[in-house]
């Protein structure tokens, strides 16, 4: 057995104990009297007969910003699918907004993994945002002024203002930059006032200034608007100082908790099976260094896999 595989086996054993350690009394959700927005207990998922991750314990209160982290191909996006009810959990219990996954999807805003619009697409940003409001309704809206029409327009303007996209919302979306498109898509996901926002790698393929700007926007949405956010990411650094909670998924195991608990050199080195260092900057922020993109054993699975 090669050293990496041996280390990974060590991870799978030890990782089960990580969540258990905090399962006892660490539910610092702001309103722990109410149902948590998200509750996972011993959750596991299986795709094609292979267990992607297991032993995930997680409670998320309203207005919390949670990141789902882990190497490529470990099943981070699969976590979102489970929360949407598109894939059943193989073990454990999953409750979303107090019900079974899939039952409360109209109260969830979902942003799939990076879609970029074709540059020649001649549809305005406002129209794409508006589709999030009533794009799934049959029939065509009557072209007469009405109270409902006005309310819809006001809501579109409000949510575009919230994400700071007013300056370019009336341009064809294909001509907006990646960061601008991402803001408009976040507005689209927010327009029905969801209680939970599921974001799949929203910072992917954005440049650094846009990464931190969009991360700050998401942090503001969760803390000021009270929307719980679960965000899949492969790089923790741009979002780290906005986060309330992190979930680290690794082959077979997982660790969840506050960033201070989970993002330590010891925990990450165990989970990844390769040395990872967590540094603290002069202003007290954490920086994760040496995080492997894809361990050698994973090279047969790329973005096409259940990442």
């Amino acid at each position: 057995m090669n050293p990496i595989a041996k280390a990974r086996e060590a991870v799978t054993h030890s990782a089960h104990t990580v969540p258990n350690r905090r399962a006892g009394g660490h539910d610092t959700a702001p309103n722990s009297g109410r149902d948590p927005v998200l509750a996972l207990r011993g959750a596991a998922v299986r795709v094609g007969g292979r267990t992607l991750w297991s032993g995930v314990d997680l409670r998320i209160g309203s207005g919390e910003f949670t990141a789902v982290l882990g190497p490529n191909g470990v099943g981070k996006s699969t976590m979102i699918k489970v929360l949407l009810g598109a894939l059943p959990a193989a073990a454990g219990e999953v409750r979303v907004l107090g019900t079974r996954p899939g039952q409360a999807n109209d109260r969830i805003g979902y942003l799939p993994q990076r879609r970029s619009f074709d540059a020649s697409l001649r549809i305005r940003g406002v129209d794409v945002v508006r589709m999030g409001l009533d794009g799934d309704r049959w029939g065509v809206p009557l072209p007469f002024p009405s109270a409902r029409r006005q309310a819809a327009r006001a809501r579109v303007d409000e949510v575009i203002e919230l994400v700071g996209a007013s300056a370019y919302a009336h341009r064809p979306i294909g001509q907006c930059s990646g960061g601008e498109q991402q803001r408009l898509l976040i507005a689209q996901a927010l327009i029905r006032r969801p209680e939970l926002l599921l974001l799949d790698e929203p910072l992917d393929s954005l440049d650094l200034p846009n990464q931190s700007a969009v991360a700050a926007l998401i942090g503001r949405i969760s803390h000021q608007e009270g929307v719980s956010v679960v965000m899949v990411a492969h790089d923790v650094n741009p979002i780290l100082h906005h986060l309330d909670r992190v979930v680290y998924l690794a082959e077979g195991g997982a660790a969840a908790g506050t960033p201070e608990e989970v993002i330590t050199s010891g925990t990450l080195t165990r989970l990844y099976g390769t040395p990872v260092e967590v540094l603290r900057t002069s202003d007290g922020r954490l920086v994760v260094v040496g995080q492997p993109e894809a361990p050698a054993v994973h090279t047969d699975r790329h973005s096409g896999g259940p990442s």
């Binding site: 794409v128 589709m131 799934d136 309704r137």
Partner: protein, 302 residues
């Protein structure tokens, strides 16, 4: 087409008498009626075709309209049935070939398309009844559109438009943003199949005016022009209808008063509109860039 030689109608620059003269012939009245219906249906369906980037599917469907019409004539039935049967069948085959994937099976579709075109050519050779060969099927004619044909076009067109009115909004959502639409419970795959069938029906209608090779004149060019002119969905849809309508009626008038074929005029008018729209947009872009650049330059110098 032969009209110019037989009757030699002359354009008088008095629109009222010109239209009175054209509409004194029942076949011209039928042609204008059919043209209006086809323009509206083709423009609305075509608007979604352009938005969904399905012009290759539209091309395939229109190409098989040719063997459809030729085969129908060979069997001794009206070409209308041939158009509708093969166009809708082709749409269903394309939908089936796509399977679960998003991309089109372009190689297989192209192969079958070539074979069907060749079959159509054989059918016209076997039939021998077409005075002008396959030309009227390929490039369109306004002669001999019967009242019953207009009725069929109206009924099918009304069904297509009603279906699009019902499906329009989710179809737009599914066309622009399929993943999120699916997440919101929009039946993206089913909509895509239904749309292909509507596309088949609309193509069959359009083929009867523009001919099977020039279907794009009414289906793609007006919609593309409208989308160049404005990114507002409702406005560009209305513009597409208006442009298709104008191209058809102007084309019919031009074809009536000249010895040249209808398909040429409709296509040329639509194409001219597209070029004008492109020119107008680049002009506006240049002007707005200059408007943005000037105050910025002033700020720097100040």
């Amino acid at each position: 087409m032969m009209l110019a030689e037989s009757g030699a109608p002359a354009w008088s620059w008095n629109l009222l008498t010109d239209f009175q003269e054209m509409w004194s012939y029942p076949f011209m009245v039928n042609a204008f009626r059919a043209g209006a219906i086809v323009a509206v249906v083709a423009a609305v369906v075509g608007w979604f075709v352009v938005l969904r980037r399905q012009t290759f599917a539209a091309h395939t469907v229109s190409a098989v309209a040719f063997p459809g019409a030729a085969g129908a004539l060979l069997l001794g039935v009206s070409a209308v049935y041939g158009y509708f049967t093969l166009c809708v069948a082709a749409a269903l085959v394309i939908a089936a070939l796509r399977g679960g994937g998003d991309h089109e099976e372009s190689a297989l579709t192209g192969t079958v398309q070539a074979f069907l075109l060749a079959s159509g050519f054989l059918f016209t050779a076997l039939y021998r009844g077409l005075l002008e060969g396959p030309q009227t099927i390929l490039f369109g004619t306004f002669l001999g559109i019967t009242s019953s044909q207009v009725t069929v076009l109206t009924v099918v067109g009304a069904v297509v438009l009603a279906a699009l009115a019902l499906l329009g909004r989710p179809l737009l959502f599914a066309s622009v943003d399929p993943k999120v639409a699916a997440g919101r419970g929009v039946p993206v795959r089913a909509l895509s199949v239904v749309f292909l069938v509507l596309l088949g029906a609309a193509t069959a209608e359009t083929s009867q005016i523009t001919g099977t090779l020039l279907v794009f004149a009414l289906m793609v060019i007006p919609a593309a022009t409208a989308q160049v002119l404005t990114p507002r969905p409702a406005l560009s849809l209305a513009l597409a209808v208006l442009l298709a309508f104008a191209a058809t009626w102007l084309g019919l008038t031009a074809a009536y008063y000249s010895p040249y074929p209808l398909g040429f005029f409709v296509t040329t008018i639509a194409f001219a509109g597209y070029l004008l729209a492109l020119g107008w947009r680049s002009l506006r872009e240049v002007l707005s860039r200059r408007a943005v650049a000037t105050p910025a330059a002033r700020e720097v110098t100040a």
